[in-house]
Amino acid sequence: MSYKNLSLPLLILALAACDKSEAPTAPANSGTVANELIVKIGASSPLTGPQAHIGKDNENGTRMAIEDANAKGITIGSKKVHFELLSEDDQADGKTATIVAQKLVDAKVNGIIGHLNSGTSIPASRIYNDNGIPQISPSATAIKFTAQGFKTAFRVMTNDAQQGKVLGEFAAKNLSAKKIAVVDDRSSYGQGIADEFVKSAQASGAQIVAREYTNDKAVDFTAVLTSIKGKRPDLVFFGGMDPQGAPMVKQLKALGLSAKFMMGDGGYTPKLIENAGAAAEGVYASLPGVPLDKMPGGKDFSQRYEAQFKQPIQLYAPFCYDAVNVMIAAMQRADSAEPAKYLPALAETSYDGVTGKIAFDEKGDLKGGAVTMYQIQQGKWQPLQTIGGSTPAAAH
């Protein structure tokens, strides 16, 4: 259910529907229509709050994959399958995520695509594990997510250790930053990637001159940046998402800091450029995987996405798309949508998706994932260098 087409007089109605719209709708076609198998895919991301635009992007990517699968007409166990998306708002909040997770479990979902944040994926993963429901996070990068020993937790994105290592080395070696200031938003993701960045940058010979913090709702960073300014760094690294990244780089420039500005995958969005304006020029960010237009099905995917949702891809939509397809492919191989039956098949995934080749190691992490460094040049994200990973042959 989308709010976009609702006209003003319907607003109140829409508001009242807000609560219900996400709930499993159980009318007509959810019963076992003759020889049709209903497979429920649960998805969860922040659909309200500061990261709502990225959360909606995740939901869009997931929805596209599910609609494609329904259009294709997949059969499992000699039954025609109808996939249903149950999308829930976790508000990027760990407590809410566990409630949402329980709700999805109670709705008897066959698998989970989510959550978006590490801070929500980790607490929710315990509930999915306890109920034996496979969970593929498209975007949670904290190491802990797959390090808890849960058989049900997978991700289709490189983790913070892989990404932080690339970022730190790139800052210290390629950009020859000697003095680096690090800020993070104290979320599982921001803290995790900042810590890995620090380790890697120090190992490459850089000195960390300041370690400062903010939160994922803040917009004013002048105090922190002023304090950093006194330490005269060559580079400022921010572990966090674009809602903070954009005003932070603006204020950094406004305060007259000449330091370079770098973020992880949380900064690699069109919104960062739009909202930071001229200050965005020269910002560095990384994204696991190869650049979208170098992804095997990347161009085609982004065109279809824009045609359907009338906006560019924000961030993780291709990863969500792949996550759903990996899950469906495992169900097909196991010839069952029963979580217990297709889980072993999921662990043995080898799938060529739009983001590249997807296979999991024994923990559920993406095997040999690539990380690409980007820089904003003339108001556009330009890929600089792809590090590691097995680039699929189809890439060009």
């Binding site: 959360g55 002023t226 809602p243 603006k250």
Partner: protein, 307 residues
């Protein structure tokens, strides 16, 4: 030294915004004894409306100053209507209800406004166009840009104007009378409902101005921006003594300074034990300290000054 000065400037700018928003809380509290938790959302609506106006006017190639003034005017009017509406619908029917009831409707109004804004303006962060030149001025090594100078000036002008209004006009006298004792004021021929409506409208207009100042300063608006700002401003109002106009101003500026100096220096002073992640904690620590040590706030005892 330039770092210290820069932190003070940061604090003053932030504090001016807190002060303007805090006035809205304190005016309403002074008259009704009600904490209008929806006030932060009114700030957000002001910024959002201004954003829409600038988008509409973008095609007409008007000078930025004119665009700013028009959006300021429209946003103020929308917020005044909103403030009037909130009071009329959510608070007036509950005027004689137990004090908890209007507090809960206030929270309800705040949630409704936030969700309405999400439906109307979407979930995304919007870039607010730079209407004022943000060319930096360097004072003794510290940098201040024109938007920030404007924020401080506008805040001072608005606050002075408000003080004059309350203390020098008939309307102001009526407001003070209602604050002191609504029943007696009514007996003396003051139209209480009108005075209360005007108070809400004034507070909302200040909120609209604050919203545009925040939008112009950070260049970013979002349907969520009002909630934390509202809480901080509420803290500022309590710090200064809620119900007291001068207290709200003082509290706002002090809170801005405490946050900025606190976040800037606590890491160095405590040897890294506390860090700048405590920036928001300072505000709420101050709130708790004030409530425990001096519940009436810094200027709270001058009850006669309430408006």
């Amino acid at each position: 030294m330039d770092i210290l000065l820069q932190q003070i400037i940061n604090g003053l700018v932030q504090g001016s915004v807190y002060a303007l928003v805090a006035l809205g809380y304190t005016m309403v509290y002074g008259i009704l004894g009600l904490i209008n938790f929806a006030h932060g959302e009114v700030v957000m609506v002001g910024a959002m409306v201004a954003l829409s106006i600038t988008q509409v006017l973008a095609g007409y190639a008007l000078p930025p100053m004119v665009v700013l003034l028009i959006s300021l005017l429209v946003a103020s009017m929308v917020c005044m209507a909103l403030g009037y509406g909130i009071e009329r619908i959510a608070y007036r029917p509950l005027r004689n209800a137990p004090r908890l009831a209007p507090l809960i409707t206030a929270i309800g109004v705040s949630i409704v406004l936030q969700n309405l804004a999400m439906i109307i303006w979407g979930r995304a962060y919007h870039a607010f166009p730079p209407l004022l030149p943000d060319s930096p001025h360097i004072i003794a090594g510290a940098i201040i840009n024109e938007v920030q100078i404007a924020i401080i000036l506008v805040a001072v002008v608005m606050m002075t104007g408000l003080l004059l209004l309350i203390h020098r006009t008939r309307l102001g006298r009526a407001m003070r009378a209602v604050a002191e004792n609504p029943a007696i004021a009514a007996l003396m021929g003051v139209n209480i409902n009108a005075v209360i409506s005007i108070t809400f409208m004034l507070g909302s207009a200040l909120a609209a101005v604050a919203g545009i100042m925040v939008a112009a300063n950070y260049g970013i608006v979002h349907y969520y921006m009002g909630s934390i700002l509202g809480l901080k401003a509420f803290t500022a109002a309590v710090l200064g003594g809620i119900g007291n106009l001068r207290g709200a101003m003082l509290g706002g500026v002090l809170l801005g300074l405490i946050e900025s100096l606190g976040a800037g220096y606590i890491g160095d002073l405590s040897g890294g034990f506390f860090g700048s992640n405590y920036q928001d904690v300072f505000a709420f620590f101050v709130l708790i300290a004030v409530l425990v040590l001096r519940p009436s706030g810094l200027l709270g005892e001058r009850v006669a000054e309430r408006a």
